[in-house]
């Protein structure tokens, strides 16, 4: 007949090995992204005429052919997220948020500006105003005065509610400039807090009943433990409200209520809140000698420095990349400069700045903003259930 062909028997071990085979386990297959794709994924490159790669890549399978998982996972976020506090005072705060998406940082900023509550004067009852400032202008100026009171201790006042000690703060302003006296300033230090509520009597037809005021306080507000040591007052004592000439007088009562910045900017608890991405400045080629001096001179923010290398040789280094404002002065003069200096922004590193108006410390404001975003998620989840 001929030769018998011998059939090779595949063992179970070989079958199992083939099933578990992964091409990325081979020694010569690279892991991770190549440098140019990693740069594109993590950095905005700021060229002379426009920014390149500004959008975050959010598709989970964007790099699946290279074995990189681009999906967002809670455990990865928990490991990567970091906060560095740069400076913190009673009213100002600068901190770094590392490892968050731009959308989340922007959500925090918008909530800080427009959805955090604070107390501001809403109703002004004018008993007497003979100053040159009209009633409505004076009322508007009073409304913009920041008040140092924690809004978490108060409730929102709706149209059906009666003003009481839980939703209203009452201030009194009574200033007089006598004839013969020189002109005087009316400052916020003249605004007196009335913890027992309104002292202005309502005008009513019959005088048989007890005279009514504009609020109905059941308890004095200074009996609250929070206000016993920290009485309610305007944040600053020297904000100018009005100026009085001789013989002029202002007598009024102002009621402050809780509100959010979306309704009126006077209720925004931050003077402003903003962020920027961390600048990154990379010298792709060496700057030496006169060229280095030109580079240092051209930067208005003094990002670069001269490094002495001995024997009269000098070169430029990036000393303060954080100060870079991306004015592009260093890459404005032609292609040679643009090819040698690379200006970038880190896509997930945010330098956050919060300026508080004084009602709450800035770190408390940020905390409350994150809580509000949590509440929104909870509401959507409960709606879907």
């Amino acid at each position: 007949m001929g030769t018998n062909e011998v059939t090779r028997i595949v063992t179970d071990e070989e079958k199992r090995e083939a099933k578990n085979f992964n091409i990325f386990d081979l020694p010569d297959v690279p892991t991770g992204l190549p440098p140019h794709l990693e740069l594109q994924r993590t950095r905005v490159v700021c060229k002379k005429d426009s920014n390149i790669h500004p959008t975050a890549i959010t598709f989970s399978g964007a790099y699946s052919s290279m074995g990189v998982d681009n999906s967002v996972r809670l455990e990865n976020f928990s490991e990567d997220f970091k906060v560095d506090v740069i400076s913190l005072t009673e009213t100002d705060m600068v901190f770094d948020m590392i490892g968050v998406h731009a959308g989340i940082a922007n959500a925090f900023r918008r909530i800080l500006l427009a959805e955090l509550p604070s107390m501001a004067i809403e109703k002004v009852y004018v008993a007497n105003n003979t100053s040159v400032i009209q009633d409505e202008v004076l009322a508007h100026r009073l409304g913009l005065i920041p008040i140092a009171a924690d809004p978490r201790l108060f409730e929102y006042l709706s149209e059906n509610d009666q003003p009481n000690e839980k939703n209203t703060i009452v201030f009194k302003l009574h200033v007089k400039c006598l004839k013969g006296d020189p002109r005087r300033k009316v400052l916020t230090s003249e605004l007196k807090w009335l913890p027992n509520g309104s002292e202005l009597i309502k005008e009513s037809g019959g005088s048989t009943t007890t005279p009514k005021t504009y609020t109905s306080f059941n308890h004095s507000q200074d009996s609250f433990p929070e206000f016993a040591e920290n009485p309610i007052r305007p944040t600053l004592k020297d904000i100018l409200i009005a100026k009085l000439g001789p013989g002029q007088e202002i007598e009024l009562e102002a009621h402050a209520v809780k509100g959010i910045g979306k309704t009126h900017a006077k209720w925004s608890p931050v003077a402003t809140a903003w962020y920027r991405m961390l600048p990154e400045v990379v010298l792709l080629k060496e700057f030496e000698g006169k060229h280095a001096e030109e580079l240092v001179k051209v930067c208005p923010k003094k990002v670069f420095d001269i490094e002495d290398m001995g024997q009269g040789r000098k070169r430029a280094t990036v000393a303060r990349p954080r100060d870079c404002s991306l004015c592009r002065e260093c890459i404005r003069d032609g292609v040679e400069w643009e090819d040698q200096v690379d200006l970038r922004r880190v896509k997930n590193h945010f330098i956050f700045t919060i300026e508080s108006t004084g009602s709450q410390p800035p770190e408390v404001l940020f905390n409350e903003a994150v809580k509000i975003l949590e509440d929104k998620c909870e509401r959507v989840i409960s709606e879907l259930s």
Binding site: T58, F59, S60, G61, D69, N70, S71, V72, L74, F77, S78, F81, K82, V83, D84, V85, L88, F95, M97, V100, H101, G103, I104, N106, A107, R110, E363, F366, N367, V370, K371, L373, E374, K376, C377, E378, V380, I381, E383, L384, S385
Partner: protein
């Protein structure tokens, strides 16, 4: 099949009494109008669908004067509503983590500042003592 879709419609309509839901023949597509959601919150939802279970995640605002957002979620097989809920849940947990890390960082900064102040006071005291001893030498 028709009965099943009908039941699904009834169930969802009862749950979403404030929303309108259109179910296409593909049950994996869920388009809903959620009232009183702001733009940037829904940006988070799109972000949170950066997940292997989702093939399409998008939103549109029908008109800027209406407080409405149309959210579309298309999945690989899991129910779209469950995926959406999971995303909100995960976003909520991320926010909690942000808060805890932030509080820790603020506490660390305050401790550091206090330590610095104490060190400065100690240095000032030492300088004062040195000055005192110099005075004694002069005398």
């Amino acid at each position: 099949m028709l009965v099943y879709i009908h039941v699904m419609l009834l169930e969802i309509l009862i749950v979403f009494n404030e929303c309108h839901i259109i179910l296409s023949l593909r049950l994996m597509e869920l388009i809903c109008w959620c009232v009183d959601n702001d733009d940037y919150v829904n940006n988070q939802y799109c972000f949170q669908f950066c997940s292997p279970r989702v093939t399409v995640a998008a939103y549109t605002i029908p008109h800027p004067s209406l407080e409405q957002v149309n959210i579309r979620v298309q999945t690989t097989g899991d129910p779209a509503r469950e995926v959406f809920k999971d995303a909100c849940q995960e976003l909520m947990q991320m926010n909690r983590h942000v808060r805890s890390v932030f509080d820790k960082a603020v506490a660390e900064y305050k401790d550091e500042q206090k330590r610095k102040e104490e060190a400065e006071e100690e240095e000032l005291k030492r300088q004062r003592d040195l000055f005192g001893s110099m005075d004694i030498e002069n005398n």
